[in-house]
Symmetry: none
Subunit: 201 residues, 4 copies
DNA sequence: TATGAATGAGCCTTCATTCAT
DNA sequence: TATGAATGAAGGCTCATTCAT
C-alpha cells in the first residue's frame, strides 16, 4: 500500500560502518568508492544518494567513530568519583577499545591524523581538533577537580590533558606496530601509575 | 670526450630533501612527481634517473629523515652521564627538533605512520618498526642503567621505553594540531618531570 | 531500481571492430587508446570496462579477425567436391576478402605478424601459429584427398600446405604495397593455375 | 700529430649493424635508442652524430639490409645462363640466407613490412616498394628471357615476378613461425619445382 | 668528437562522479 | 530509490632528443 519505506538514517549508518572498515584498511586515498559499495553490499551510485562525495563520507565516518568512542568512555566514568581513579579509568578505557570491535578503528585514527595534518585541509584539521578538544576538556576537568582536592599538584591542566591524550595515542601506536613487544594493557596500567605518581602532590 | 659530470650522490640527496618537503606537505598518495620535480628545480624525468618509482623515493626520504634524527639525538646524549638526566635530555631533544629545520619533517612522520599501518605494506611497516626499534633500544639501555643504579624503580624497561617514545610522538602531534594550545617545550619539560618522578625509586 | 541495461557482448564487439580498424591503420605500438575510443564513439575509460589492457584488446581483435576469416572460407568450400577445385576455391577466397570489408584487416595481419615474431612474445606467436595451423590443416586435408585420388602427385602435403598459405599471404602483401602493379584477382588465378599444374600428377 | 682520425663511414656502418640486430629483435617502436647505443658499444648521444633521428636510423638500416641481400643474390646469378635454372637459383638463394648471418635480418624484414604498410608512412612504403621493385625487375627480366626462349609460356611476367617474390617471403615466414614444421630448403626446392613446372610451356 | 645527464611531451590506466534506466 | 555503465581528468612513468662538458 505504502511505497517501499527505507530508514534513510539506518542505511546511511550502514554505509558509514562499511566505510569505516574500508578506510581503516586502506586509508583515504587508497580506498575506492567501489570497494566501499561492495563492503556495504550496495551499488556504487547508491553511496552518492547519501553522501555528496568521498570526502564527506570520510569525515562523516570519522564523526561516527569519535561518537562511539565518546560513548564508551562516558559509560566508564559514570560510576567513579575520585579524580585519581577517574584518570586511571580514563586511561584504561583505551585498553577496552583494543579488545573490542573498535580495534579496527585504530588504523582509521592514524589515517585521520595524517589527513588532518595536511596543509589546507581545514575541514579535517577542524574535525580532528574538535575531537581532541572534547577529550582534552574531559581530562582537564578531571585534573582541575584533582588539583582542587589537593590530590594533584598545581599544573597547566590543559597542557597535561593534551599530554595524556597524546601519550595514550602514541603508546597505542607503538603497540600496533609490534603487538608482541609488550602487553598493551599492562603498559597502559604502568602509564597510569607513572602519570598519577608524577602528578600527585 | 668526457660527458657532463654530476655528483650523483649529491643530486640524489638534493631530490630527497625536496621530496621530504613535498611528502610532508601532501602525503604519499597526494604528492605528484611533477610537484617534487618542481620543488627540486628539475624536470620530472630526472627523478627517475635517481629513483625507480614514487614509492622508492618515499621510503628513501624516510630513511634520510630517520638518519638525521638519530644523529641529532646522539649528539645531545654524548656529554651526559646520569641516566635520569639522559632521559630528560632525550625528551628535550625533540623540542630542539621542533625549532629546527626538522619541523617540516613532522608531517612526514605522520604520513609514514599512516602508510606503515596499512595492511600488506610490509615494507613500510618494517622500516617504521626498525626506526622505533632503534629509538626504543636507546631508551631501554638508559632505563636499564638507571634501574641498575637504583635511580629508577624496577620495571619492564622495554615497555616503558616504548611508552616514552610513543608519548613523545603523541604529545608532539597534539601540539602540531593546535600550536597555540600550549607551549611544546614546557609541555615536554613537564612530561620529563612526570616520567622521571613516576619512574623514580 | 534496475540499472542501465547494456548488451555487454554486443558493445564489446563494437569496440573490437573499431580497434581492428585503428590497429590496422597504426599498428600496436602506435595506436593510442584515445584513438580507439574515438573510433568507437565512446570515452577512453569505457574500453577498460571491457578489456583489461591495450594488449588484451589487440589480441582479442586478432581472434575476431581469424574467426571471421575462417567463416568466410568455410562457406566457400562447402559446395565443392573435387580437391583440385577446392584448392582453387580456397585460393580465390582470398580474393573475395580483398573486395570486402575484410580489406581493412590486411594491415592488421601484417601487424600481427610483426608482433608475433618478436622474441619473448609467446602469446602472440602462439596465437599466430594457432591460426596458421588451422589453415594449414584445412589445405593439407584437401591435398591429401587429391593425392589419394591420384589427382595430385605424392608430396609432403604439410609443407606444401604451408607453402600455399605463405605464398598467398606474400602475394597479397606485394599487391598491398602497390595496388596498381597488377590485378590481385588475376594474379591469384594465375597462382592457382601454377600451383595446380605444379602439383598435378 | 694529426687529430684522432675516425672513419666516419666505418663508424656509421658499425652503428647500423648494431641497429639492424636490435630492430630485428624488438621492432621499431619497441627498440630504444639506449639499447642500440649499448649494442654498438657507444654512448646514446653519439648515435645522433651520425643519424638525425631514430626513424632515419631505421630506414638506413633497412637500406643496408637490402643492399647486402642484393649482393648475395647477384653473386649467385652470375654464372647461370638458362632462365629456368636462374629462377631455381634465385629461389634457392633465399635458402642460403637462412643459413647465414642474414638469418637475424628476417625479423627486421617483417618489421619493415609492418612499418611500410602504415598509412601516411610514405617514406617507409617508398623504401619498401623500391626494394621489391628491384627484386621484381630482376625476376621479370629472367621470366621475359624464358618466355622469349619459349621455355616459359606467355604470361604477365611482372605479376608473376611479384608472385614469386611474395611467395618466397610468405613461405619463409611460415617457416620462421615453426621451424620444426618442415625443412625450409626442401620446401623452397619444392616451390621452385612447382613454379617452374607451372610456368613451363 | 663523444658522452650521458637532463628533459618534457605523450600515453596507458585508474577511479570519483554522473546519469539513464 | 537504486544501480552500474560511462566518462575524462589526472598522474606515474617512458624515452627520443638535446646539450653542457
Amino acid at each position: 500500500m505504502s511505497p517501499k519505506v527505507v530508514d534513510k538514517s539506518e542505511k546511511k549508518n550502514h554505509i558509514l560502518k562499511a566505510a569505516i572498515r574500508v578506510f581503516a584498511e586502506s586509508g583515504l586515498a587508497n580506498t575506492k568508492m567501489a570497494h566501499v559499495a561492495q563492503a556495504a553490499g550496495i551499488g556504487k551510485g547508491t553511496i552518492y544518494e547519501y553522501f555528496k562525495s568521498k570526502d564527506e563520507l570520510f569525515w562523516m565516518a570519522f564523526e561516527v567513530f569519535v561518537e562511539e568512542m565518546g560513548v564508551l568512555i562516558e559509560r566508564k566514568l559514570i560510576d567513579v568519583e575520585d579524580p585519581v581513579e577517574q584518570i586511571r579509568v580514563y586511561i584504561m578505557a583505551w585498553s577496552e577499545m583494543l579488545n573490542s570491535e573498535f580495534r579496527e578503528f585504530a588504523n582509521l585514527m592514524i589515517e585521520i591524523w595524517a589527513e588532518s595534518m595536511r596543509k589546507g585541509q581545514d575541514k579535517g584539521l577542524a574535525a580532528m581538533t574538535e575531537m581532541y578538544y572534547q577529550y582534552r576538556l574531559q581530562i582537564k576537568s578531571i585534573l582541575d577537580q584533582g588539583v582542587l582536592q589537593k590530590k594533584f599538584r598545581p599544573m597547566n591542566t590543559l597542557a597535561v590533558a593534551a599530554m595524556i591524550i597524546g601519550s595514550m595515542d602514541g603508546l597505542f601506536l607503538q603497540w600496533l606496530m609490534d603487538k608482541d613487544l609488550f602487553p598493551i594493557e599492562e603498559a597502559l596500567k604502568e602509564f597510569a601509575d607513572i602519570v598519577i605518581t608524577g602528578l600527585s602532590e
